[in-house]
């Protein structure tokens, strides 16, 4: 029975039948989110000698949001690590800004390749 249901579902002309919508509920059109991915990204921020830099503020530019304060923020720990969970569309890029403390030059990075979920960032001394 379930198999038959799966077969029915494969026919494109039945797609609308599988959209469940209750009057007081949301419209569950699954096609809408086919392109949405979730990626977990870990940064390790270090200096030119590979020493981790703690306390770096990592700002992630939030897309699709018209807020004036549209950055999500994490701060690196003593191992230089900051973590983000990104919800993004396929082929979409995300801007990150690394604000070192007063000793380092801030750096902007635009990431488009999310195959690696661990990214090394080097900051230069001021």
């Amino acid at each position: 029975m379930k198999f038959l249901r799966k077969i029915l579902k494969c026919f494109s002309f039945t797609a609308a039948l599988f959209v469940v919508q209750a009057c007081y509920g949301v419209y569950s059109d699954y096609e809408d989110y086919d392109d949405v991915l979730e990626k977990n990204l870990t940064f390790r921020v270090s200096d030119s000698e590979n020493n981790p830099i703690g306390g770096v503020i990592v700002n992630r530019k939030l897309m699709y949001s018209n807020c004036s304060n549209c950055w999500e923020i994490d701060t690196t720990n003593s191992d230089g690590i900051a973590k983000f969970t990104l919800i993004l569309l396929k082929n979409e890029g995300v801007m990150f800004r690394f604000d070192g403390n007063n000793s380092y030059i801030p750096k902007d990075t635009f990431i488009t390749n999310f195959e690696n979920d661990f990214i090394e960032i080097k900051l230069s001394k001021k």
Partner: protein, 354 residues
Amino acid sequence: MIFFKLFRRLETKIHPLNYLFWECTTRCCLNCRHCGSDCISTSAYKDMPLEDFLKAFDSIPKREIDKDFIVVITGGEPLLRPDIEDIGNAIKSRGVKWGMVSNGYLYTPEIHSKLISSGMRFLTVSLDGLELNHNWMRGAQDSFKRVVNTIEFVSKDPRISFDVVTCVNKKNISELEQIYTFLDQRNVRRWRIFTISPIGRAKDDPNMHLSNSEFISLMQFIKNKREFINKERKKKLKMMDITYSCEGYVGSYEEKVRESPFFCRAGINIASVLIDGSICACPNIDRKRFSQGNIYVDNFYDVWRERYIEYRDRKWTKESECKGCKMWKKCLGSGLHNWQPEGFLCHYKKTIRK
């Protein structure tokens, strides 16, 4: 139609649960005229603790949760819950997508961003007319401004399936064309229209209920608009979609006002956990009559599997209000939310010109 009937029979037989409402609060920041739940700012019920809902949810075997399964968080106004992000994360950690129905009043870009990160993939907000009528309906003078602000930034976000719903009533029925243009200009992808059922505080408000001729003109509006949209789309023009909500069987307007024929999924694909723990289906259904159990007493999934008899076999409707109706095989006795103690609503009868 044969194909659809086959599909409907199969779906009813298998009754895969893939749409689970959670009425997480009945507190609300507005005082809407058409509210089906009679919500107020201080509700008689305490918000249901997240753990209680999760315990019920976790009774669903993992093999029964496919990628189309969604949890729909509803209220009251879900954003009044301070733990809304935790709720999202808990559902997300179970590999399930979730959506929310909100009045849009408290919504901000910051909240949006957090909810997206905690797994929200569907959002529905209500707009019940242009400024004057929306504010009248919602009982707050700044309500329109705030919901439009929400609509403007959420509709720019392609990561979410977003739609706007409008409850059509005597006051806003003359504004439909303008509302369409208003939403279309703001990049809204889908506009869903519903009409009121005789429930909650709406049942005693004469402005809420459309006459038969008004109902026909609403059907005509949606039908014409859909035909126009389809023509424009052939020219590759992007246009906002418009549909009539599931509501009920609408006779000759079937498939002209929505994508697929009427099919009430309550108890077939849809279940709910209501504020007091009742296990039911759509929150607008008569809970006293149609609740199937309670999560504080029963195992949620056992109830889903073994009960819901009246939902899955609707022949009983033929023995009462629908007796002798020639449309029964197509309609199966309308949406269950139309069976209220205050009365029964047949949408088909509203479409018949005298």
